[in-house]
Symmetry: C2
Subunit: 364 residues, 2 copies
């Protein structure tokens, strides 16, 4: 199914022109670009063939041509020249990436926002933690009615909560519980934390107040929460920039699909995938609502069993080249910063940031 070199050039021209103008592109327009040295008539012939091959279609008999999903696919796979971001863009992005980097869960929202700003399409960011366990327990005795639970998780994040009790506890019990939990619960995935285990702990601690239950509930909840994929959507409104979404109903449909966030997950087969940028064009999407939109997805490793995904949604007439380049860069940057090494990106790093904040007195 090889097609001639010239057809490829023409196809690429159609795609690019259509991306630019959002209007069906005619033979003349292509000829005018000057890349091909032949007349509109010749191009017409080629166009006709491209149509019958399925790469293009015409909205009606006397209109220009528009790429089909297959045409876009061909373009993305073979024709598109991978864009690089300009130096300024690169720097700008790096600057912004450096600014906010603490723990992933805080960042994820910024990431989606960033991706959306960058590309001017709505963007979705999500993370999945494949497996988490508690690495360490601490219970801090505050006073007779309050204590703090501190969990350090296997991904080096720390979660904590104040527990308020209507009854008094003594410091001894709290200590005992901490020890027991450290002994019995560390390194366990949440499925392994059974009612039986909890019960055993309760007895061992001689806990008549139900603290064990409270604590283990928090543990389960926390592990569950961390493991639950979280999704953030930003810039939905940018959809309205696109002429194909000038129909409010269409826009609304897609937007409400998107704001139901996680449901892009069908596409998260990509989660396990490589670090490449994936493009899903129109009907290639599994979700019905996306059948005539396209999605560009970058996924990367964010350290300790965490997979992170950034997706950008737009019309099939999307600037694949630019978007892919930007996402790819973004993913690479985040991956470098978050993933890889064992050490969380803290410590020294912080110091630098500290200075910034101290001097600049300007937050935000």
């Amino acid at each position: 199914m090889a097609i001639s070199e010239r057809k490829k050039k023409i196809l690429a021209a159609v795609v690019e022109e259509y991306i630019r103008t959002a209007e069906p592109v005619g033979s003349k327009a292509i000829a005018r670009r000057g890349e091909l040295s032949c007349s509109p008539a010749t191009i017409r012939n080629e166009l006709a063939e491209l149509v019958s091959l399925g790469y293009l279609e015409q909205p009606h008999t006397s209109a220009g041509r528009v790429p089909t999903p297959m045409g876009y696919r061909m373009y993305v796979n073979e024709l598109m020249e991978k864009q690089k971001m300009s130096l300024e863009e690169t720097e700008e992005l790096n600057r912004r990436l450096n600014q906010k980097l603490q723990q992933l869960d805080d960042t994820i929202r910024d990431v989606s926002r960033l991706a959306s700003q960058l590309t001017d399409y709505p963007a979705l960011a999500l993370t999945t933690q494949i497996a988490v366990t508690v690495k360490r327990f601490d219970l801090i005795y505050v006073d007779a009615n309050n204590f703090i639970i501190v969990l350090m998780l296997s991904n080096n994040s720390v979660k904590s909560k104040l527990v308020h009790l209507p009854v008094s506890v003594d410091q001894e019990l709290v200590k005992r519980l901490a020890a027991l939990f450290n002994a019995g619960f560390t390194g366990m995935e949440d499925e392994k934390i059974t009612p039986a285990l909890i019960h055993a702990t309760e007895r061992a601690a001689d806990d008549s107040l139900g603290l064990t239950a409270v604590i283990s509930a928090f543990v389960l909840e926390t592990l569950g929460e961390v493991k639950t994929p979280t999704a953030f959507l930003s810039g939905e409104n940018r959809l309205l920039n696109q002429p194909e979404f000038r129909d409010p109903d269409k826009a609304h449909r897609l937007m409400s699909y998107l704001s139901g966030g996680g449901r892009i997950l069908p596409a998260s087969e990509a989660l396990g995938g490589s670090d490449e940028v994936k493009v899903l064009i129109g009907p290639e999407n599994v979700a019905e609502e996306l059948k005539d939109s396209s999605v560009v997805i970058a996924s990367f490793d964010a350290g300790d069993h965490t997979r992170c995904l950034i997706g950008v949604v737009g019309p099939t007439r999307m600037d694949y080249s630019a978007v892919a380049a930007k996402l790819s860069f973004l993913a690479a940057g985040l991956s470098r910063r978050l993933g890889g090494g064992e050490a969380p990106p803290e410590g020294m790093h912080n110091k630098l940031i500290i200075k910034e904040i101290d001097d600049g007195h300007e937050r935000r």
Copy 2:
């Protein structure tokens, strides 16, 4: 400027009918409602007067009448009968409120989502912490290169973070630091934490590793973060349900204004206000972008120096009555759960409160 009883009835009828249908309402339509026992002709006369009084206007000579902002204002202030939510709605809402209640900062997003779902307009939720201090410090020594900072804040929330160090620390230093911070930093507002204080602490602790700096940076950052008003926007897309936003440009303008979240803050004069529901109609809004939309705002106390605000945005032709009722109820529910008492609403407490609300009835 008193207007006759009948005029009021007619005005109310126009507003309600217009809210329902989104179409200019004519004399016949009002007559057909049957509330007034007079002919369309009479109503026409009254309508004409209401127009010249400024409560109504007509899009063009031979169209029905549409309320002006002044008309809406009159309606909201005097005519509107405060709706009550139906029993089912009340129950449903209570159920959902009970489901998720941990700390406010986690909830705030859910609150905006809830408000939006409830009203079918975009909703914005934001919190401001007037003043926060640290109530208690803990440093947990993990190993030579890691320790955990745990802050308990004056609003009873707990924040924690793992600090990773490229150098070794001994347990003694960590203990010393915890004691020093507890002595020197508790109860301080963030402005009071000066570089001088930090420096003094550093010397007192004999800390050559810069831990003091790291810790105090975290403190400042945390306090700053908590104090920074956070806003959450949900359901922007619901705007597209409204016929007045079928123009994508108009919709887009408003949506991007909204997604810049905090900028509703001009309206947050309301933050200090009472617990009443406020309605800002069209030009009453300060923000240029809202000049032809309306905002319904409920604000309430969420405990310890925290003021929380829920706002709903829609066209001026908004179902004020229903929205106000719902927001008011929502605010009351949250206020009861979060605010008031000294004790944080956690642990056992939740359960008790729940019962109370379930059995007892709503207070308007």
